[in-house]
C-alpha cells in the first residue's frame, strides 16, 4: 500500500515521485509539501548531515502542521513581556521545542539559529527540549524566531519565565561539584593511604607519618563537610521527623571514622581511616548523582505538561476579538476556540457545538460531543466546531492542574522498601554503638592502653558501609541498565515492587493497542459496490476531517476526489463525488431508515451511504501493538497473572483479551473501578504492577505497587508512573521484571555478605585481633565487593 517512508518524517509516502527532494545528489521521497519545504530548507542551509546524524525518528515527528500558526502575534510588545526577559534592546526567552528528539536536532537548531543576524546566543538542551535564546529586539522579534523553528519542522512553544526556571539545573550543578570534590579528594587521600600502609609494613619516619596524616586530614575535611553535607542534613531531618533513614547510619559511619581519624592524627594514634571516609562518601555521592539524573529526566516530561495548554487565546470583548497571552486569562472571560486549538481553561461552552478530544485527560480516544451548557476541560482539543466558552477556572485551578498536583503528592507519599532497609540499618547502627561501648568498657578495665584502639577497630570493622551500600549500589546499577533497556526508572522503589509482582494489569487503549483506529471488517450492503470502492469513497470524504477516526481511512493513493465536503459535528462527514452526495458517519446520519441492527456494545462502526440508503459498514478497532502477544506470553511464563482493565466497551476489550489470551478482563472501568481492582488484589496479598497511559490512569498508577507508563501516552500518567517505557515495544516490561528479580537477588547477596562479614569481623575485633588498618582494609574491601557485585547488573542481558 505504501511506497516507502518519508525521508524527513518517516510517515508513509503516497507516490515516490509526488514530492521529492534532492539531498547530497540523491532524490529522496517525502510525504507532503511541508516536509519537502523543511528538507529543502535544511539542505539549503548546509545542514543536510543532520539526516545522517539523527536517530531514526518516530513516524510523524518533524512533520510541519498543515496550517502554519500565526507567529507574528508574538512580535507584539505584550507577548514579549509575557514570554521573555527584555532589557533595553536585548531579550532572552526560553522556548520549549516539541519534536526535538535527538542530539542532531539540537545541533540543527543551534547552527541554524546562530546564523540569523540579531541572535546573540543560542543554548539548546535536547534532554529538556529547551532552547534559550538571547537576541536584539531591534533586529527581529520573538515571532520571527518561533517561525524559524517552525520552518525547521519543530513545534515551538515559548515558556513564561516562571515555568522556564529550572531548579533541577541548580541541583545538578551542586551535585556535580560535590561529586568532583569527593572524587578528587578520594584520589589524593588513597595515594597518601598507600604511603601510610606501606609505612606500617616497612617502617616509616614518624615525622613523615604525621605529615601524611595531616595532608590526608586537610583533603578529607572538605569531602566530609562539603560533599557529605546532604547526608548529614538528611540524617538530621530523619531524627527530627522520627523517621531515621539511610542517611543516619551513613552519617554516623562518616562522622565516627572522621572524628576518630582526626583524634588519631592529633594524638599520634595507631591508625587513621581518612581513605575509608572519602571512598565511602564518593560512592554514595555517585549513587545519588545517578539517581538524580534519572529523576530529572522524568521532571522534564512533567513540565512539558504546561505546553499542552495554548500560549495565546482569542478573547471576545463584545464585538471585538483580541489575541492575548493565555496567562492573562481571567475567570469570567469569554474566549473563542477554533477547530484544532486546545481548550485554554476550564469553563462552560456558551455558543456553538463541537466534539472534543479529551484523550489527554481520559486516555480514551473516542471524542466527546459538546454543545451549549456543557463543561469544557482545559487541555482537551477542540476537533471540529468554532465555539465560544466562558472561562471559570484558569491555570493550576483547572482539572488538569489539580490532577497534576495530586499525582505529584501521591509520588512523595509512598511506602518505601528502602525505608525498611533504612530502619534495619539504623537498628544495626545502634547495636554497633552499644557493642562498641561494651567492648570499650571491658578493655578500659582489662588493658586501658589498648582500649581506644580496639574500640575504634570495632567501630570501623563493623561500619555498616557494605550494608548501607548493598541496596543503593544495586539499584543504581539496575537503573542504569534498565534505561539502556528502554525503561526509565523514576522511583527506585519500583524495582523492588516489580520483582515481587504477582499480577500485572494492562490498560487497553494506547498500551496493548496503538491507540489509532484501523478498519477490522467491512460489510457491504449494496452489491453495486465492492470493498475497495467503498474504502476509496470513504477515504476521499474523510480528507477534511480532523477526527481521530479519519486516520483509519487515510489512503496512500486514491483516484477518487470528493468536493464540497462538510463536517457535521458529532455525526460524520458529507461530500460530493462524481455528482453524487455521499455521507459517512453514524447510522442515523447516513440513512433515514435504520437498516442495520446495531449491537451497542460492539466496536465503533462507521456507515457509508448515499441518497439515504446504506452502502457499507466499517467496523473500526484499535490495532494491537506488535509484539504484545509475545511479551504477554513471556510474562505469564514468569508466573504473573495477567489482567486487562479498560474504560472501553465490552466487545473491543473482549476481542483484545482473547487475541492476547488474557482471561481476566474488565471493561467499562472508571478510574475508581480500576483502583478497586488493584486494592482488592492487594488485600489478597498480591503485588500489582499497572501498565497504563491515560491521565485518568494517574491515580491508578499511583495506587499500584509498581507502575509503568508508555512514553507516548498522556504526560500526566508519566508523572505518576514509577517507570517510563521508552520506545514503541512492550517487550522491555518483561525484561524489566527479570532484571528487577535479579536486582533483588543481588541485594540479598550483598546484605548476606555484609552480615556475614560483620558477624565474623566483630568478635575478632572485639578480642583485639584486628589492628585498625586491617579493619579499614576489611571495611573498604567488603564495600568494594558489594559494589562490584552490584555492577554485574549493568551488563545484564548484554551478549
Amino acid at each position: 500500500m505504501s511506497a516507502g517512508a518519508c525521508f524527513h518524517c518517516a510517515l508513509p509516502v503516497d507516490r515516490v515521485d509526488q514530492f521529492q527532494v534532492e539531498i547530497d545528489g540523491e532524490l529522496k521521497s517525502v510525504c507532503c509539501p511541508g516536509c519537502k519545504a523543511v528538507a529543502e530548507l535544511i539542505r539549503d542551509t548546509g545542514m543536510s548531515s543532520y539526516y545522517a546524524m539523527r536517530e531514526d525518528p518516530q513516524p510523524g515527528i518533524g512533520r510541519p502542521p498543515e496550517d502554519a500558526a500565526e507567529w507574528q502575534i508574538y512580535d507584539r510588545d505584550d507577548m514579549l513581556q509575557a514570554f521573555a526577559d527584555a532589557i533595553d534592546s536585548r531579550a532572552e526567552a526560553t522556548i520549549y521545542v516539541g519534536g526535538m528528539y535527538c542530539a542532531a536536532c539540537g545541533w540543527l537548531i543551534e547552527t541554524t539559529l546562530a546564523k540569523v543576524p540579531g541572535i546573540a546566543s543560542v543554548d539548546v538542551n535536547p534532554v529538556t527540549h529547551r532552547v534559550r535564546i538571547h537576541w536584539h529586539t531591534a533586529d527581529l522579534g520573538l515571532g520571527r524566531i518561533l517561525a524559524l523553528l517552525a520552518d525547521l519542522g519543530y513545534d515551538p512553544q515559548p515558556l513564561a519565565p516562571e515555568s522556564a526556571a529550572r531548579p533541577e539545573i541548580a541541583e545538578q550543578r551542586t551535585a556535580l561539584k560535590r561529586m568532583l570534590v569527593a572524587s578528587l579528594g578520594m584520589m589524593q587521600v588513597m595515594m597518601f593511604a598507600v604511603g601510610l600502609y606501606a609505612g606500617d609494613f616497612q617502617g616509616m619516619d614518624a615525622d613523615m607519618q604525621r605529615f601524611l596524616r595531616l595532608v590526608s586530614f586537610i583533603v578529607t575535611t572538605p569531602v566530609v563537610f562539603y560533599s557529605a553535607r546532604p547526608f548529614f542534613a538528611g540524617a538530621w531531618r530523619g531524627i527530627v521527623s522520627r523517621m531515621p533513614g539511610m542517611d543516619l547510619p551513613v552519617s554516623i559511619a562518616v562522622s565516627t571514622a572522621y572524628i576518630g581519624s582526626v583524634y588519631a592524627t592529633l594524638t599520634n594514634g595507631p591508625a587513621v581511616w581518612f581513605d575509608s571516609v572519602v571512598m565511602f562518601v564518593f560512592f554514595l555521592t555517585l549513587g545519588r548523582f545517578l539517581e538524580m539524573r534519572a529523576r530529572h529526566r522524568s521532571i522534564d516530561r512533567s513540565t512539558a505538561l504546561s505546553t499542552v495548554l495554548p500560549n495565546t487565546v482569542t478573547r471576545v470583548d463584545g464585538d471585538e476579538q483580541l489575541t492575548i497571552p493565555a496567562s492573562q486569562l481571567l475567570s469570567g472571560d469569554v474566549v473563542l476556540v477554533r477547530p484544532g486549538e486546545s481548550i485554554p481553561a476550564d469553563g462552560v461552552l456558551i455558543d456553538g457545538q463541537t466534539t472534543v478530544d479529551e484523550a489527554l485527560l481520559t486516555g480514551e480516544a473516542e471524542p466527546r460531543p459538546k454543545s451549549t451548557g456543557d463543561a469544557l476541560v482545559a487541555g482537551s482539543v477542540n476537533l471540529d466546531g468554532i465555539v465560544t466558552m466562558r472561562v471559570e477556572k484558569t491555570g493550576s485551578d483547572t482539572t488538569l492542574g489539580t490532577i497534576s498536583r495530586m499525582s505529584e503528592r501521591a509520588r512523595y507519599a509512598r511506602p518505601a522498601f528502602v525505608q525498611l532497609a533504612d530502619r534495619v540499618a539504623s537498628y544495626i547502627v545502634v547495636a554497633i554503638l552499644l557493642v562498641a561501648v561494651l567492648v570499650g568498657t571491658y578493655w578500659y578495665f582489662a588493658a586501658p592502653d589498648r582500649a581506644f584502639v580496639i574500640t575504634l577497630s570495632v567501630l570501623v570493622v563493623t561500619c555498616p558501609c557494605a550494608l548501607a551500600l548493598a541496596t543503593p549500589a544495586a539499584f543504581a546499577a539496575a537503573g542504569t541498565r534498565l534505561s539502556e533497556l528502554h525503561l526509565l526508572v523514576t522511583n527506585g522503589n519500583a524495582i523492588e515492587a516489580l520483582s515481587r509482582s504477582t499480577r500485572i494489569l494492562f490498560d487497553k487503549t494506547g498500551t496493548l493497542t496503538r491507540g489509532l483506529p484501523v478498519i477490522v471488517s467491512t460489510q457491504i450492503f449494496d452489491d453495486a459496490f465492492n470493498e475497495m470502492q467503498c474504502l476509496r469513497i470513504a477515504s476521499a470524504l474523510e480528507t477534511v476531517s480532523t477526527h481521530p477516526i479519519a486516520t483509519a481511512f487515510t489512503m496512500t493513493e486514491n483516484e477518487i476526489v470528493a468536493d464540497g465536503q462538510r463536517v457535521a459535528t458529532g455525526d460524520g462527514v458529507a461530500g460530493t463525488i462524481a455528482g453524487q452526495r455521499w455521507r459517512l458517519g453514524r447510522q442515523e446520519f447516513v440513512s433515514s431508515t435504520i437498516m442495520d441492527a446495531v449491537d451497542q456494545d460492539k466496536s465503533t462502526s462507521v456507515y457509508l451511504g448515499t441518497a439515504g440508503h446504506l452502502v457499507a459498514r466499517f467496523d473500526l478497532d484499535d490495532e494491537i501493538r506488535p509484539g504484545a502477544d509475545k511479551t504477554l506470553a513471556q510474562l505469564s511464563q514468569l508466573g504473573l497473572q495477567l489482567a486487562l482493565v479498560s474504560g472501553d466497551n465490552k466487545e473491543p476489550v473482549r476481542r483484545v483479551a482473547s487475541a492476547l489470551h488474557i482471561e481476566d478482563c474488565h471493561s467499562g472501568c472508571t478510574p475508581e473501578d480500576k483502583l478497586a481492582i488493584i486494592r482488592s488484589a492487594q488485600e489478597a496479598g498480591e503485588t500489582v504492577t499497572m501498565v497504563g497511559d491515560g491521565i485518568n490512569d494517574a491515580p491508578v498508577l499511583a495506587g499500584a505497587d509498581a507502575s509503568v507508563a508508555p512514553v507516548h501516552g498522556a504526560l500526566l500518567a508519566q508523572t505518576s508512573a514509577d517507570i517510563i517505557l521508552l520506545g514503541d515495544a512492550l517487550e522491555p516490561v518483561a525484561t524489566g521484571i527479570l532484571l528487577a528479580r535479579k536486582t533483588m537477588r543481588i541485594v540479598k547477596q550483598n546484605i548476606a555478605w555484609a552480615i556475614v562479614y560483620n558477624a565474623t569481623a566483630l568478635p575478632l575485633a572485639a578480642m583485639g585481633y584486628v589492628p585498625p588498618w586491617a579493619a579499614a582494609i576489611g571495611m573498604s574491601a567488603s564495600s568494594l565487593i558489594v559494589v562490584l557485585n552490584a555492577l554485574r547488573l549493568s551488563r545484564y542481558g548484554a551478549p
Partner: protein
C-alpha cells in the same frame, strides 16, 4: 624523602586550582547538558551551503 614536604603541598595547591576551575566551569553552565557533547564531535557542518541562505 624530605622532598615530599615540598611536593605534596604543591600537589595540594594544584588540586585546589583544579577544583576552583571546575567550580567555575560548572557555574558558567558548561556542565548543564551532559548528553549532547558526547555526540557533538561527530557532527560538524563541513558542508558548504549550495547558495547563500536567505534567513
Amino acid at each position: 624523602m624530605s622532598i615530599l614536604y615540598v611536593l605534596i603541598p604543591l600537589a595540594l595547591l594544584l588540586l585546589g586550582g583544579a577544583v576552583w576551575a571546575f567550580f567555575w566551569a560548572v557555574g558558567s553552565g558548561q556542565f548543564d547538558d551532559l548528553d549532547t557533547p558526547a555526540v557533538r564531535i561527530i557532527m560538524d557542518d563541513d558542508k558548504k551551503p549550495p547558495e547563500k541562505p536567505e534567513l
